[in-house]
């Protein structure tokens, strides 16, 4: 059980459990005692496979869903007991094609959602114009959303999430289906928002996104938190998966290295090889052997966040 949240925490989650009981099916424990604190101004990634509990957690924090037990506080207000105080503080950006009125124009959508934040109409228009400019949709503002590309819709989603000047933003897989350039532009926007001091919870599958924009990342699976660290710290935790990428080592040498203590695996491909080790000693020993045998094309690296993800969550293929 966490202490009462003090100043400085944008989001506090304390042993939150969420159980769904579908008709004629066994109960599903989507969140199983999740606890987490996110300080103000942090971009916090929530990484996990489909069905891990990311969207469920976002819905609880955004007051759409009630927790079965536990407590969550956003902006200093309990999401269950003080729902009305939470709502004006937050903005939600869901990914995907839906969540907008497609026959309305971009501006009409923004002005409507702005009105729901009880803003005066003049202020709604001013903010809508500013946000459309910011997300690069000014030229398309008077066109129906149904004519927008996927990336444009996603930018409009972000503008809609910001129309209430939210201090805490929940982004639920916002770049799903976007092309790499559009996704990169979106990430730039997220970094800008971080620079404005907003707190962002970013639920994502995208490792590049998590490593690029997140200050810390929480790995979640089957409703449980597996780890919460900065992306670099997570990778360093997996030091046993430090790697040596090499070229020009012959088969006999690689076989000798594979037999050394502390060498986890040797993977060969296209004239090169990747040597995985589980300790600094093994790394030094393998490098020494390579160099002594005249192999100079060597490079060491930490595992990628994807490697960490796969290692902690496991190879489940298409299984949910």
């Amino acid at each position: 059980m966490l202490d009462d949240p003090g100043e400085g925490w944008a989001v506090v989650i304390d042993e939150v459990v969420r159980v769904f009981t579908p008709r004629k099916q066994a109960p599903v424990r989507a969140l199983d005692g999740v606890s987490l604190r996110i300080p103000r101004g942090e971009v916090h990634g929530l990484l996990g496979p489909n069905g891990a509990g990311k969207t469920t957690l976002v819905k609880i924090l955004s007051t759409v869903l009630l927790p079965t037990s536990g407590r969550a506080v956003v902006g200093g207000h309990d999401v269950v007991k003080a729902t009305r105080r939470v709502k004006p503080l937050i903005g939600i950006v869901f990914g995907g094609e839906r969540g907008l009125y497609t026959r309305l124009t971009g501006r009409q959508n923004l002005e409507y959602w702005g009105a729901l934040y009880r803003l005066p109409s003049g202020e709604v228009r001013r903010r809508s114009d500013a946000l459309l400019e910011r997300v690069g949709l000014t030229d398309k503002a008077s066109q129906r959303v149904e004519t927008y590309s996927r990336g444009m819709k996603q930018r409009l989603h972000l503008a809609r999430g910001l129309i209430g000047d939210a201090q805490v933003l929940f982004l639920d897989e916002p770049t799903t289906g976007m092309d790499p350039i559009a996704a990169r532009e979106f990430r730039h926007l997220v970094i800008e928002l971080k620079g404005e001091g907003r707190t962002i919870l970013l639920a994502t599958h995208d490792m590049v996104e998590a490593e690029t924009v997140c200050d810390r990342v929480t790995l979640i699976d089957h409703g449980r938190i597996l780890a919460t660290e900065s992306p670099r710290s997570l990778r360093e935790m997996m030091s046993r998966f430090r790697r040596i990428d090499t070229e020009g080592a012959d088969t006999a040498l690689l076989d000798e290295i594979a037999a050394m203590a502390g060498v986890v695996a040797v993977t060969r491909a296209d004239g090169g090889a990747r040597i995985q080790v589980d300790s600094e000693d093994a790394l030094r020993a393998a490098l020494k052997m390579l160099v002594e045998r005249g192999v100079t094309a060597v490079q060491t690296s930490l595992p990628s966040l994807e490697d960490v993800y796969v290692e902690l969550i496991g190879e489940r293929g298409l299984e949910v």
């Binding site: 769904f20 009981t21 579908p22 969207t55 469920t56 819905k59 955004s62 007051t63 759409v64 869903l65 009630l66 009305r84 709502k87 004006p88 937050i90 939600i92 869901f94 995907g96 839906r98 969540g99 907008l100 009125y101 497609t102 026959r103 309305l104 009409q108 409507y112 959602w113 009105a115 729901l116 934040y117 009880r118 129906r144 209430g164």
Partner: protein, 255 residues
């Protein structure tokens, strides 16, 4: 009230962007012509008020069921429903505002039906009791709004909602005495019609188009208003159930 006005504004914008929504207003005059031709060819010009009242209710009912009734469900399909739940403005207020607008637009059908009947077909449709007509139309509009509010939650809460929507119209036209007076129906059906506001509204509307005094005006208007109030109470309970399904059980989520 902010939420209600926001809902009204949204629905007006929708009507501008979805002009096909006004199709029922185009069919109401056609129904008027059909029914008036029937009574005219039968040599029963005295039944002209019946022929005029029926298209009004058919149009209003259509607006209530297929516009108002689908407000929440279409938000669910477009995945804006959960966004509304998370927004600072009451979702219920938005829904009320949108449905009030739908009902007001549907009420325009009376104007066009009367104009077509009186000035296109030359039917002897005279408004003998204008204040009664106005009061009945207003009370009917509220009762129709209550019906739409009930339907908008019901369509989300039950399976096979569209089957229900497509099936219940004609039974309600019969029970409501919209074209054929309830007095001509089998005796065992008549008590059922008393709990359908359409029967009270249709009778009063026809009475406002007929000469001579209209008995029990206050009581009959009160029945329409009372049934509307019961409808609003039921609608409020059903909308609470919808919100409960979203927040407590998570059943209505599409993501």
């Amino acid at each position: 009230m902010h939420g209600v006005f926001t809902g009204i504004r949204l629905q007006i914008v929708f009507y501008r962007q979805y002009p096909d929504s006004f199709i029922p207003l185009m069919t109401a005059p056609l129904f008027t012509i059909i029914f008036l031709m029937i009574v005219r060819n039968a040599g029963r010009a005295d039944l002209s008020p019946y022929a005029v009242v029926a298209p009004v209710f058919i149009s209003l009912w259509w607006f209530a069921l297929f516009h108002g009734g689908l407000v929440v469900q279409t938000d669910r399909w477009s995945q804006t429903l959960e966004m509304h739940v998370a927004a600072p403005t009451s979702f219920a207020a938005i829904v009320y505002g949108r449905i009030l607008t739908v009902t007001a637009v549907g009420s325009l059908s009376f104007v066009e039906v009367w104009l077509v009947a009186r000035y296109v077909l030359g039917a002897p449709v005279v408004i003998h009791h204008p204040w009664l007509l106005a009061a009945t139309l207003v009370a009917t509009a509220f009762a129709m709004a209550a019906t739409a509010l009930v339907m908008t939650s019901l369509f989300v809460l039950i399976r096979n909602a569209f089957t229900l929507a497509n099936s219940i119209s004609f039974p309600f036209y019969v029970l409501g005495g919209v074209l054929v007076p309830v007095a001509l129906l089998p005796g065992w059906i008549q008590p059922l019609s008393k709990v359908v506001f359409l029967s009270w509204s249709a009778d009063l509307l026809r009475a406002s188009l007929a000469p001579g005094p209209v008995p029990d005006v206050g009581f009959r208007l009160a029945m329409i208003v009372g049934l509307a109030a019961a409808g609003f109470a039921l609608a409020a309970d059903l909308l609470r159930r919808v919100l409960r399904r979203i927040r407590v059980t998570g059943e209505l989520s599409l993501r």
